[in-house]
Point group: C2
Chain length 392, copies 2
């Protein structure tokens, strides 16, 4: 369980306050899930399930220049931490601006800013019920936390911990920063997009002499259409491949397969969508190279996605096509609530629910025993979710 | 994990075939999740996660007189197994007939019948998109299976197993029968109902001399409204209390609290609905008495629920009220996919998905950071879900 922390941090680690909207109108309110009041029944879940306790967050009226601690390890140091935070915040701004323009409704993203007394914080932005987008969430977060030794071992391998078998290692302080986003358009021919890029560092475990400091990158971008339009899927994958090929020719085939494997709804024997790229625990390359790679991937979101949205946002559709989109949305919910490690971990450890579940669609549908007719457009999409294809 | 088997068997243990509808028109089809073909990727989930393997089911054109094995342990013997199966099948028929009449659309429940070569089977009935009901599912099942020793110990306590510490007990054959139902009406003032009654028996573990045969009852009936109408909730709870009081005055208070505790959405710090009764592992009373109690409870579903439906099915409502119902449906999905032990266990062990997920509503909604205004009707319902009340 705890290793999920290492896989999808920007959801896992993005508990935010209930309100305090920079651009919204709601008054600030106390966070609903408290980590400090022993009287709240929600504590029960934490006592039983939590293996990582995250400090309670505080609403902020505006975003600070940096969420990094002023301890020389990040802010102002030109460190990877600092450069990664700068990158995800810049990308958040660029993507939200591009999405607002594509939406064309004049609606703006509503923003929640939060911080933690001990350092770290985040910015959640959500645009709901626009012209083009049913629900679009783009979150960044910076988290200082403590990882249980099991999670550290799961991530880095027991050997790297330097601990002999049976040695009881202590908790490992970590730093994580990430951007995470899910975009659900209204038109059933316009696909849903998810992306998430994250950077992790752990301190060296203090009680294990010689054990190293660790760092790694993770992330990916994947496409979830309700209808298979090959032109769109090929365009999307080709932009992912271009981003990958600038760094290593092995990246695209490896991360494409990893994506197909990760977004697997086991109980349906089908993938959530038509994939893209996914990677985790990446540290066996030059650190600057991987920072540049993550930056390239995050920068590829708009060129990979918006041309598809522009082409499909006004495609005429009927009620049956909308209903099929809603059935696929139901599968999205099933994946996120049952399998996604960031979501399930976040729910168990008391992360801010609204930030974690912003990934869920505005609306979804479950029809009993729904089976598309063989050969139909719905069946073609489902077939591609069951049997992942090579698109390029 | 495995102990969940003991808590919500009729979902857990109700994998059914893909088709073969007694009243429907779809042709029989091969089951989508195969337990026998090693080439299907779905096997991966089973290999990693499953602790109970359930034999593959076969579609049947009509329901047999009994699903019990002809081995003298059930069919024709006047046994509790036989009487329980008779009861749940009679109740399924009565409830479906009453619901069809209340729905008034002329729509009939679509029926799927299935059996397993080694004994057992089930009948799933679903009515979808009627006049009154958005989705109504009423399933019965009879299952012969093998329970891992952990599950047996979790259910009965290690001491009852008779095994000394460290003794490696073998798998325990079990019998389970149950009725399970979720009814989602369309009108936001008409509440959702769930009920489930089940009977379990285990063989005596063969490798543990002196360990006993076990049996127990479980179940409950609970109400999930979108609006708090006290008259309805009091009526519902008073019928539950009447059923309980015929057997033991301690039952209603004890099982009411158990229900509030079980249907708890931890990450929201709220209950799914306004409760009812829930009990499990009940065997410390006379077996006939508990069979009569389960029969009384199952027989109370219609008098507890239908008067509420009759009163609320035609109540005028506006778009905002429908949207709030959809938000509460979203919470229903969250509970069932994240917490319900029958659902999560069923998904992991390869039960028939459509039978397990028939409990999900036809439609649901997730609005970012939705908070009802304090004092509003929506807020009153939410408050009662956060702070369970005594209704009688």
């Amino acid at each position: 369980m705890a290793s999920s922390l290492l896989t999808t941090p920007s959801q896992t680690l993005a508990p935010t306050p209930s309100a305090a909207r920079a651009r919204g109108s709601s008054p600030p309110a106390a966070a609903q899930v408290s980590f400090s009041s022993p009287r709240l029944p929600a504590r029960r879940a934490l006592r039983v399930r939590a293996s990582v306790a995250i400090e309670k967050e505080v609403p902020e009226n505006e975003a600070p220049t940096t969420f990094l601690r002023e301890d020389g390890s990040g802010a102002g140091s030109g460190s990877v931490r600092e450069r990664f935070e700068g990158m995800i915040r810049r990308v958040q701004g660029e993507i939200c601006a591009a999405l607002e323009e594509a939406d064309g409704s004049g609606k703006r993203f509503v923003e929640d800013v939060w911080s933690r007394p001990g350092g770290g914080g985040g910015i959640s932005r959500v645009l709901q019920d626009g012209n083009v987008f049913e629900k679009a969430g783009v979150n960044v977060s910076v988290v200082y936390g403590v990882m249980p030794p099991d999670a550290y071992r799961a991530a880095k391998g027991a050997a790297k911990n330097g601990a002999a078998d049976g040695h009881k290692a202590g908790p490992v302080p970590f730093f994580a920063a990430g951007i995470s986003s899910v975009l659900h358009p209204k038109n059933p021919f316009a696909p849903t997009l998810h992306f998430n890029y994250r950077y992790f560092e752990t301190d060296a475990p203090k009680d294990v002499p010689g054990a190293p400091r660790s760092w790694w990158f993770g992330g990916g971008t994947d496409l979830t259409p309700s209808y298979l339009i090959e032109e769109d899927v090929k365009h999307f994958h080709s932009v992912q491949k271009q981003a990958c090929d600038k760094f290593d020719p092995s990246f695209y085939p490896r991360f494409k397969k990893w994506c197909d494997d990760y977004f697997y709804i086991k109980h349906r024997n089908e993938r959530r969508g038509l994939g893209g790229i996914f990677f985790d625990d990446l540290n066996d390359y030059d650190q600057d190279m991987l920072l540049n790679f993550a930056t390239e991937c995050a920068g590829s979101v708009i060129p990979a996605y918006l041309p598809i949205i522009e082409r499909r946002k006004d495609t005429p559709f009927n009620e049956e096509q909308k209903a099929w989109q809603q059935v696929r949305r139901g599968r999205y919910v099933e994946f996120n609530l049952v399998y996604d490690r960031g979501t399930t971990f976040g729910l168990k450890t008391g992360g801010r629910i609204e930030s974690i579940l912003v990934s869920l669609p505005l609306t979804a549908r479950w029809e009993y025993d729904h089976k598309p007719e063989e050969g139909s457009e719905e069946w073609k999409l489902l077939d591609a979710c069951i049997n992942p294809k090579e698109w390029l």
